[in-house]
Symmetry: C2
């Protein structure tokens, strides 16, 4: 493995030994296949296999245009989320936008108001970054231990894509931001005109006007043709179907930053503008709803991420949190992207309580649920990032651990 | 841009200045949109926008099950190829395989023949790598200067995906390779049983038994449910629908390594087992068939890759190869993966001959077509990696440069 680091090679050799365990036992060679029949022709656009059934799960809502759909993390491999399975959180359905008609208007406290076509934006310098998007309300059920039965329904409002777009700072410089401006109000072209207030300092830092996702145009459910991508910030601020940026000297206190996406604290006051997503991790195999076929060697695996940068370390427990061991991390560990972790584990048929905890490059350690509640109380809906335990029973079934 | 390197930041500032040029001129603010109508509901699987039309282009062949389909590189953004648009090269169509029935048989010179189910393989240690696949015959028309009119039809047999699978070495160790074995014959489950001979040393190095592509199961047209992924080697050796690995003491001299995928040299002898793909690059914008709307600032961009490792440098000429300037490279530069390059350029309305050349971490410099023909003659079909020139005319149209 020429391009793996030395530590990876050692780990792999160790796993190789474990693999011999996985592959041990009687193997009967398959009777040779009958001669093959001619397959189907080449095609312009390759769909997935009819045997693959993974889909997003939609939480019931009164209107089908409003709500969330959850990524099937239990089926994830590697570090990317297929665009077709990226989680959704919509407030007024998915608009159908003709990119030839779409405009991004930059106005308010600027010297040169701009109305940019998609062609204008695609002529600008481009930046490509692999980034996690996570809904501020992901794993909200964990606050009250009323969580979904599997990793999709409890943690599926997080996905990772390669995003491509123009730096917002380039457009703002061209527009000439006036000295009095301190906020940017981003508004989407959906029916409810979803809007969020972004501090100017962040807007001048690393925000993208994104038109590309995983090597093609952003999909309609992710904001086609233009989405604000704000590295490390809660999904809701990454305004989809972006059509207006207004420079102002104060935030708008919009519906989606007051009635929603704020955090009611134990003292009755609310935190607002809590944009940053903290370090978090989840074991995807084995996870709730899955069943181990029997005792033996398995590879525990899952995903870790942090809105603050790179994942530095992931630790795994198999005894409910008494002891923790370092997992192997997939390289490259990109900042604010999914980092896949894994650890070989021998399931001996005795019950086990498993969990992961992430440590990011800022030194932040993913807290326990109890520690989180100790600080933030139980009124919160958003920003749950506590350690998540799964219970592996003697019969190999895996369930949530309540509480 | 916190996570960009210092040089990137400088580059971006320079590009920002150029962008002001792009965005200069009168801008009329769009009359405010009429109130939006409710969009379409959330869904289980998100398709692309009906306004997006990019598809693979299929070269005519006598049977629709045999041939090639080409990736629309002119529409690419970032560094990944959408799985639905990954190039194809099939010899007997795409088989429909039930993964629950599929087996990988490991036999021949081994102590413990194995018949592995997909579940067995997925229990093994997993490795994820972003890798280019390129057909050995990509840009074959360039040998005779009978090339396609655009980048898709001339260079589209190359794509880049995130692949996930088990290391082949782990399985071979478990099978117990006998001392006399020196080759692995890999065979696919397509109707023609496509097979290639792989030296054992490479099989024990970095080859993957891949089941994942871009975060989901490999698509049928890419080998579902199991494909051999051989980093840096010509696409044909990356056997799709893999169902048999036979350990032998000699290569098989199979049809696809004798009548095809060998290189007839000027002295009448043929090179065989020319697995390695060398450094190569191509400008995707502006490229053949595209039209610049007028003089002004544009960002030249394209893709570079090498079967030997990382891209170290990409140089661009706008005067037919007299002078070369270093392009900006997108980070991270992963080994044997697409590296996106870009350079701001002011098109002043005078004809220009543009091209890129890649230099990889081994120091290899992408050669001119003439230098390549000087060594390999003109009988070759495979492994063309010469520098590719595009002609930008005064009216902004872009065409191939013959010869």
């Amino acid at each position: 493995m020429k391009h793996l680091q030395r530590s990876s090679r050692r780990q792999l050799l160790r796993m190789g030994a474990a693999a011999t365990g996985i592959l041990a036992g009687p193997h009967t060679l398959l009777a040779w296949d009958t001669p093959g029949t001619l397959g189907i022709p080449l095609g312009p656009y390759g769909e997935r296999s009819p045997f693959e059934k993974a889909v997003r799960w939609r939480r019931d809502s009164k209107t089908p245009e409003t709500g969330s759909s959850f990524t099937p993390l239990q089926d994830s491999v590697g570090t990317l989320t297929p665009s077709a399975l990226h989680y959704e959180r919509h407030h007024a359905g998915i608009p159908t936008i003709d990119p030839a008609q779409h405009r991004l208007v930059v106005h308010g406290l600027v010297d040169h108001p701009l109305s940019l076509s998609m062609a204008d934006i695609k002529r600008l310098p481009s930046v490509t970054r692999t980034l996690v998007l996570e809904c501020g309300g992901n794993s909200a059920g964990e606050w009250a231990a009323r969580t979904g039965p599997d990793v999709q329904r409890s943690y599926g409002l997080v996905s990772c894509s390669e995003w491509t777009g123009a730096p917002l700072s380039v457009v703002l410089r061209a527009a000439g931001v006036r000295p009095r401006a301190s906020w940017v109000i981003a508004e989407g072209a959906d029916a409810c005109r979803m809007e969020r207030s972004i501090p100017l300092a962040k807007a001048m830092d690393d925000i993208l006007l994104a038109y590309g996702q995983n090597g093609e145009a952003i999909r309609p459910s992710q904001g086609y043709p233009l989405r604000l991508i704000i590295p490390g910030w809660e999904g809701n601020t990454n305004v989809k179907w972006l059509h207006s940026l207004k420079l102002t000297d104060q935030p708008y206190m919009a519906r989606d930053e007051t009635s929603k996406y704020s955090d009611l604290m134990p003292d009755g006051k609310a935190r607002i503008f809590t944009y940053q997503m903290e370090a978090k991790s989840i074991i995807t195999f084995p996870s709730g709803g899955q069943t181990l076929p029997g005792p033996g060697v398995y590879e525990l695996t899952g995903l870790a991420w942090s809105g603050r940068g790179r994942i530095e370390r992931v630790e795994i427990t198999i005894d409910g949190g008494q002891r923790w061991a370092a997992a192997q991390l997939h390289e490259p560990r990109l900042p604010i992207a999914f980092t896949r972790f894994r650890l070989p584990w021998r399931f001996d048929g005795r019950p086990s309580i498993i969990a992961s905890r992430a440590i990011d490059e800022s030194g932040y350690v993913q807290p326990t649920r109890e520690a989180l509640i100790g600080v933030r109380g139980t009124n919160s809906i958003y920003h749950f990032n506590g350690i998540k335990f799964w219970s592996v029973r003697a019969d190999g079934t895996v369930t949530n651990v309540e509480g």
